[in-house]
Symmetry: C2
Subunit: 262 residues, 2 copies
């Protein structure tokens, strides 16, 4: 039995999110099915973050264990050959038997893309939220920083989400900047933290859009967080603009583990 | 009655090509339907090039005439509001009444993208042909130039295509180069000419791939063209890598025309 860490990229457009669901295509379900074909038996697949329907990943992480002695370098090819093209395994590494994609994670980086051009290119429409209307971008940039630090983010947790004991999380960095790629003008929001509540990134972006529209002042964000209720914050920005960029692990968990044959 | 020139971008993945077909989604059909909704009457839509199913456009051109007096600047917004998001009208200009998207065109530029990385990103899979196997790229670059000039391209015309009197075309430039964008390594083939036969660009790319695989020598391309039969050239490269980049018009046809109310 060897434990593996897989790094995946996916276009979330056609999936009902990461988490396995009966009768709906999900990324976890697709990966599990492919691994079970290779293993010729049941495989339990854990993901670092349960991305919602329509959310994309550049570096989602999954963990699973296999008995099948297929070499690591062949495993990537075998999995990609069987997977839908909208999901690609970028790397598979042997890891310590106690590695768990979710519980071993020490941080995550998300990116949210807001397309600012009047006309959204048909090649960007699946991968950005198109918002061509006026926004006070300077106020949004200022407001983004207010989410940094160890804070209670209850105001930004979806009410329908998981029951969690604590809604306190540490945000290491929260920044917004304007980016030009070819013809496209975009606002890029990047947030890195030790963990995120359900819908938290999309709710932060919805709140930043409220700041941009002048409905909320950047300096009122601490007050909004202090209210600890969902109604205090802005709406939930659409899923298609959100990317899980990478999942971080402490140096111990991330190094390749020399597997011992069982 | 005013004559218009529209410039369009589209993701061809979900369309059965440009040309209108009963019971299948086509770009021409989608645009015609939207223009007829705005016009409240029949509209005849002409395209500069009939892109195949799965082929994309960054700058396709269509022409049509309208009686409806809606101002040009509102027309772009109105059309984009009604069109599928996978098609965007980038500009609409008033043109001379004798302007015709196809017959007035003096040149076209196409681009073909070959993705060279071992793993093709899920965000590139719809917009490139993934070919991770060894290719003699230097030979392909040399071979690309052999298609330039005024030549008979019968060997590169799909046998099932339109009956055309002449298969002689002038290729102004035909170049291949390697490009790096982020993590992705790509071969980009660009070809600009006064006209193209059915499947011609995809057949040139198929021939270049044969050169890359060592099945055909770059210096044998003139001989291949001289045979004037489809079997002499390489296969047809997949549609998803092909983009119609722009359509060119003589300076007279391209300038904005001052319309006179009928």
């Amino acid at each position: 039995m060897r434990q593996f860490k897989a790094t995946l990229a996916y276009d979330g457009t056609d999936f009902h999110g990461w988490q396995i669901q009966p009768d709906h295509p999900t990324v976890q379900g697709a990966l599990k099915q492919v691994l079970e074909t290779i293993e010729c038996g049941p495989v339990d697949v854990q993901g670092a973050g349960r991305t919602d329907a329509g959310v994309h990943a550049l570096g989602q992480v999954a963990s699973f264990s296999l008995v099948n002695p297929i070499p690591e370098e062949n495993l990537v090819k075998a999995v990609n050959r069987l997977l839908l093209k909208t999901v690609r395994v970028l790397a598979i590494n042997s890891v310590s038997p106690d590695f768990h994609a979710r519980y071993s994670a020490t941080g995550k980086l998300y990116e949210y893309r807001i397309q600012r051009d009047e006309i959204c290119s048909p090649f960007d429409g699946r991968y950005a939220y198109h918002h061509p209307y006026p926004l006070d971008e300077a106020a949004m940039i200022e407001a983004a920083a207010a989410f940094e630090g160890r804070q209670d983010f209850r105001s930004l947790a979806a009410s329908g989400g998981d029951e969690v004991e604590s809604t306190v999380r540490t945000i290491f960095s929260s920044t917004l900047h304007r980016e030009r790629e070819g013809e496209a003008e975009r606002l890029i929001y990047r947030v890195r933290g030790d963990g995120f509540l359900y819908h938290m990134v999309r709710n932060i972006v919805g709140t930043l859009l409220d700041v941009g529209r002048g409905r909320l002042a950047a300096e009122d964000i601490p007050k909004m967080l202090a209210r600890r209720e969902r109604a205090a914050a802005g709406g939930t920005a659409p899923a298609r603009g959100l990317f899980l960029v990478r999942v971080e692990y402490g140096p111990a968990a991330d190094t390749t583990h020399t597997t011992t044959t069982p």
